[in-house]
């Protein structure tokens, strides 16, 4: 087992070091795109293969592998130890499996980028950090991975760092995450302090010790609830929940494979993983569970309303991710952690597929953009549009859609990510279209695709928890239903505006997008297949047995505990809820079809007209950025300018300058002593000798 863990952990690290060092010091190496990409992909595929073999040979016996003691300070003894159990294995499979597919995809997507080697080095480093996070046996090693994925996220959001906007987005992600990490640290301190003061002996925040009932019993109710709340705040940072979700939409500044891997499939689910890992502890803090459930529900609803109003295809998917993460937190809040992990898994499949699909679309639209720039139909971003100066058509001619008689419905500037300039792509990108459609239907919750089972299970668990006497869970359930409806609508809109209808980019008759190369379409197909069938791993109790429940659940020997229920929901009600979930998906998709399928962009205008201020409110993301700007950023920046800057100038600089001035003045005062006459110095020596001799004779005795 020790070898297996090393074989899982080390290849991504080696890949990162190799690509990073060679790329840094050997400029000739940077051009070998196939070598770089192949090496990086293999470094993730190998851990996947190893994880599969471990998975197949796993006998429901958690194993802990200890390599060495990392740090030893008084009662704190932290080991570099990793844990192989049902939960960490499942997460490892998701991370390496989806990760390998996205590495493969990136080979084609990043083709020609100057930072090709850098990209793959970062991506491999991310996988290493993420594996540390999910395999860690104690909170400290987990935190190492937690910070590592944050760092890689920062590096990859700001990957194209020459654009200030991207750097700002990277900074925002890093700083907002830091707030959550701070809470995580405090929670660790709190637990260490509470446990070591309650019992003698060393403590390394090991899960096997920490989560044992006797250790949890040592903790007071208040301490435990506070620790869980702080861990949840840490999770809101990484997993983009209210109030720390604001970084995730901006994180779309990174390359699209990054959005798919880090900001949809893996890193943002680490908060859910943490809660599932700590489930025995979380279950002892029902008050905090209510906070988790309500925050999740509100985040899900809010993000879904914003997603409807966005035009950037990646932003729609980003808000959709926030919303789906909200669903997962709802499940955690009602004590159904294994369902949250189930949704993490299905979400990794369909959101990974959607993001990679959007990347394929953007790739194609970039081709269109280049062609249009080349022909001089749109102004070039690189400032050499006048190359074809004299035959540049007039704007009115360009804005005519050659495929139909009326002017183009959208006359803003061309943007390869803007759905308003897309439309009709199904004719040019068949593979992308079909995979995107399957993933869209999956996330909308159409039976029997993956999203249906996981989302329905979340809603059912919320209902069940409410039925069991926690009335707030009914509120979560209702909000979840509304969000599910909105999900079907905004994802339908996203698909319809992108792939259906008429082409909306200029000169569409001549300039056509092209399907992406096989390295990009293969991952799409695999992920689409998984999002079609992945749901069968967690069938509801009515339809059969849930594999994922058997695998993870504590009652079957797994590490994930769940809330106990006294009252059982009747089978009839369960059937009803199942049908309700399916009906909501169908209704939502039909609404989307009736509006955006028939009327395309006019449906947006209609919605804006109908909802008025509400639409504006949602399209500006509920003014969260403005709120933070007014309450945090402005006071901090203003305080820095008005208080700290003067203090720096007058206080700090003043002290330094004052010391310098003092030394200079003393020196100027003493300067005349240095006359330059040798005889003066000799006189001083003589006087000195006389004084010394006198002192020795008459005083010193």
């Amino acid at each position: 087992m020790e070898t297996s863990v090393l074989l899982i952990l080390l290849p991504p690290l080696l890949g990162a070091v190799l690509n990073g060092v060679l790329g840094l010091f050997a400029p000739a190496y940077r051009k070998n795109e196939w070598v770089i990409g192949g090496l990086a992909t293999a470094a993730v595929a190998l851990p996947f293969v190893v994880a599969v073999s471990v998975f197949l040979g796993f006998h429901h016996e958690p194993e802990v592998v200890r390599y060495f003691t990392w740090m030893r300070a008084g009662d704190l003894v932290v080991d570099f130890a990793y844990r192989i159990d049902q939960l960490s294995l499942l997460m490892t499979l998701i991370v390496t499996g989806v990760g390998a597919l996205i590495h493969l995809y990136s080979i084609g997507y990043m083709h020609g980028d100057a930072g090709y080697w850098r990209f793959f080095a970062y991506l491999n480093l991310f996988i290493f950090a993420m594996l540390n996070l999910v395999l860690a046996e104690n909170l400290v090693v987990l935190f190492l991975g937690w910070e590592g994925v944050g760092l890689c996220s920062y590096l990859l959001i700001g990957f194209w760092y020459t654009n200030l906007k991207n750097s700002a987005a990277a900074n925002k992600a890093f700083i907002v995450n830091r707030i959550g990490d701070f809470a995580f640290l405090i929670a660790m301190f709190l637990l260490f302090q509470a446990v070591t003061s309650a019992r003698p002996g060393t403590f390394g925040l090991d899960f096997s010790t920490l989560l044992a009932p006797e250790t949890l019993g040592l903790l007071g109710g208040g301490t435990l609830a506070l620790a869980v709340l702080l861990f949840f705040i840490g999770a809101t940072g990484k997993s983009a929940q209210i109030p720390l979700f604001v970084w995730l939409p901006d994180a779309m500044a990174g390359p699209t494979p990054v959005s798919a891997l880090i900001h949809a499939a893996t890193m943002v689910t680490s908060g859910l993983y943490l809660l599932a890992r700590l489930s025995p502890m979380v279950l002892r803090a029902p008050g905090v569970m209510m906070v988790i459930g309500l925050i999740g529900a509100l985040t899900a609803l809010m993000a879904a309303t914003i997603a409807i109003t966005q035009n950037d295809i990646k932003r729609v998917l980003a808000y959709s991710t926030v919303s789906q993460l909200g669903f997962m937190f709802m499940a955690s809040g009602v004590g159904a952690f294994f369902v949250a992990i189930f949704h993490v898994m299905t979400h990794a499949f369909f959101k990974g597929c959607l993001f990679l699909g959007s990347g394929s679309v953007i790739h194609a639209m970039h081709g269109v953009e280049h062609e249009l720039e080349h022909r001089g139909i749109i102004p070039s971003k690189h400032g050499h549009s006048d190359a074809h100066g004299h035959d540049t058509p007039k704007d009115s001619e360009v804005r005519q859609n050659p495929l139909r008689d009326n002017p183009l419905p959208y006359d803003g500037p061309f943007d390869a990510q803007d759905m308003r300039t897309m439309g009709g792509l199904k004719r040019y990108l068949p593979v992308t279209r079909w995979t995107f459609l399957i993933a869209t239907l999956a996330i909308a919750g159409l039976p029997p695709l993956a999203g249906f089972f996981s989302k329905d299970e979340i809603l059912f668990k919320a209902f069940e928890y409410g039925y069991d006497g926690h009335s707030w869970a009914f509120f979560v359930w209702v909000v979840g239903l509304a969000t599910a409806l909105l999900t079907a609508i905004y994802m339908g809109r996203c698909y319809l505006l992108t792939f259906e209808g008429e082409e909306r980019w200029p000169a569409a008759l001549d300039v056509r997008p092209h399907e992406s190369p096989w390295t990009m379409t293969v991952p799409l197909v695999v992920l689409a297949a998984l999002s079609a069938v992945g749901g069968f791993l967690g069938l509801p109790a009515l339809l059969g047995s849930s594999w994922i429940h058997h695998w993870l659940g504590a009652e079957h020997g797994g590490p994930v505990f769940e809330a106990e229920h006294e009252l059982e929901v009747s089978h009839g009600t369960e059937w009803g809820l199942l049908a309700l979930g399916a009906a909501i998906a169908v209704v939502g998709l039909l609404i989307a079809w009736a509006r955006w399928g028939r009327r395309e962009l006019e449906a947006d205008s209609w919605l804006r007209y109908k909802l008025g201020a509400l639409y504006y409110w949602a399209s500006r993301k509920w003014f969260w950025d403005e709120l933070y700007d007014a309450t945090v950023v402005k006071p901090v920046v203003g305080g820095a300018r008005r208080v700290l800057a003067p203090f720096d100038e007058k206080g700090v600089d003043g002290a330094v300058n004052g010391l310098a001035r003092f030394v200079r003045n003393v020196g100027a005062a003493l300067r005349p002593l240095q006359t330059g006459f040798v005889q003066h110095y000799a006189l001083a020596v003589v006087v000195g000798v006389v004084v010394v001799v006198a002192v020795m004779l008459f005083v010193g005795g």
Binding site: R671, L673, Q674, T675, G676, L683, V686
Partner: protein, 101 residues
Amino acid sequence: MAVALNWYLALSAVLFTIGVLGVLLRRNAIVVFLSIELMLNAVNLTLVAFSQALGDVDGQILVFFVMSVAAAEAAVGLAIVIALFRNKETVNVDDLHLFRG
């Protein structure tokens, strides 16, 4: 008949004082230089006197060291004075204050 030790020491003190005053007060660099030699020889005289009075030869040995160092010093010092005169056309120490602060 032996002269008392005190006389030697008194002569040495007088010579040394003349030397010190010469170093401090004279303006001609060569005279300053000679005054230094005078001080050295005053010390030599003390050493020899004590050596003879105590019947110990160590003091006389030390005098040879002082003499040889004084010879080396004279060679270097005179060379410096000559170099000074070539450059400045003066050996008046009051005109030499390049290190004034």
